[in-house]
Amino acid sequence: MVRTALAVLVIDENRIRAAIIEAGLREAGHERVTVIHDVTGIARRIAEIEPDVIVIDLENPNRDMLENMFQLSRAVKRPIAMFVDRSDQASIEAAVDAGVSAYVVDGLRQERVKPILDMAVSRFNAFSRMARELEEVRGELESRKVIDRAKGILMKSRGLSEEAAYTLLRKTAMNQNRKISDIAQSLVTAAGLLGPAEDE
């Protein structure tokens, strides 16, 4: 039995995340996927696409506008409801935790929609993890740069070797119970305030 392919609309201002969701949907065999980043003129787009399922990120401030449009607009030929399977509280919670919500046209069977929502949830989570890791790496790189500059200042002003400069930073951090990057940042800031440009 051939089932008509579901038309899926992804609304996400974050282009990278939208691309990840789209790729996931295509891998899962969904051919009719449309991605929208900007909701301007969305009523017309919905009329053209006639989506069966709409996936939207919870950071999007336009959810209230969209929910109202799903109920009222002439652009939406078939009524669209929020994806709610009250028997499945866990999957609702997982979706909100991940930061995603889905709306489906009336009458569409839950078992056809659930895999789409599950996939969106896991990809949203993967994206958040990735963004967090990237943030950490960026932070590490930043602190390494600051530590290098602080070492340079100490080497120049106190005639220390690189190793001795690092040891001094580390000792100070331990004594004050602070991070070495914080001590380095304080030193760089103080040097900037007190002296002529130290290494520019």
């Binding site: 919870l58 959810r63 506008m65 109202n68 109920q71």
Partner: protein, 414 residues
Amino acid sequence: MSMGAAHQITAGFMPLFDSAVLVAAGELGFAAREGIDLTLHRETSWANIRDRIAIGHFHLAHMLGPMPLACNLGLTPLASETIVPFSLGLGGNCVTISNAVWEGMAAHGAVADLDPARAGAALRALIRERAVAGHDPLRFAVVHPHSGHNYELRYWLAACGIDPEREIEIAIVPPPFMADALAAGRIDGYCVGEPWNSASVAAGTGHIVTVKAQIWRNSPEKVIGARKAWADENPEALAALLRALHHSARWCQDPANHGELAGVMAQAGFLGLPPAVQMPILTGHLQLGGGAELDIDDFFLPFDKAANFPWKSHALWFYTQMVRWGHVAHTPENLAIARDCYRPDLYRSALKPLGVALPGANSKVEGALRVATAVGATGAGLVLGPDGFFDGQIFDPDEIDTYIAGQESAETQA
């Protein structure tokens, strides 16, 4: 985080100025003094607030006054039973229109005095003129279908002989996008809270034509909506929070604190807007556009005039408007749900130990007070009103069937 606080409460809010009483309760120590560790989460849509209340992420939240009613009446998906034990203030909204619409209205007698009747008559004349000329209907925006904004805009228009269902369009636009949408010509006017009206005036792209405080003086706006299941299980935590909110609201009302309050709300985690743009709502002194300015009585009250008391008559008026505009059917069951949603009993029992003035009744006849009036209350010195509708109508919650029927017949005559 205060270690060892007696109560842990998590609350959601939208970045709007009328979340101030809740925000100040957390930021300025009023909650901590009541033994509450209050965690505040900023949200991006009312739908998110609703969802997070429903799945238990939030115990309570800053909500649109009619929103808990909509939840309990089954008008929204994924909603849980929500009660209102506290109101976050009275007034605060304006109706702002584009320069082009203002010019059209001015040609029909509008002047910059915010008088709802005069402005409405001019708008009506403009709308009829546009209809004859074959122009598209004007497009207005509000923040949510179940909002004070939507109902007061419609009330004003209908009372001025404009059918909001047929003669204009009403779209939903998030508050921070209103001014941009107006400037870009995607909408012709909107009803929203501050500072999003003054934003258009400051940009030179809009005029404020009337205000909530004149359409219905001292009328309800945002409230605290609490998960009923949580409130039932944690009566002490809720009572402690209501006392904290009471102290916070009193502090917010005091002009001596307005500068500090504007500074707190200006922080990136709350409104993220300069303190100066928050002064119009705090002082009631508004620039209207084109150089006109005006002082508005009772523009926004976070505390005075029993602003925090969750009047059942406020909830029931919202209910009559939900019925009027086809959001819900008027049935005895729905009326009972609307009647039970706002909980003055919880407010009263929480504040009783403070010995402050509390209204003795749960409901009042809305529109009956023509002047500020001292009323019978426990404690000393409670002043209410004036609470008039601009068209002189009276809403008696004991005569709700008559009121609803009166609105229906007005609609069929229009």
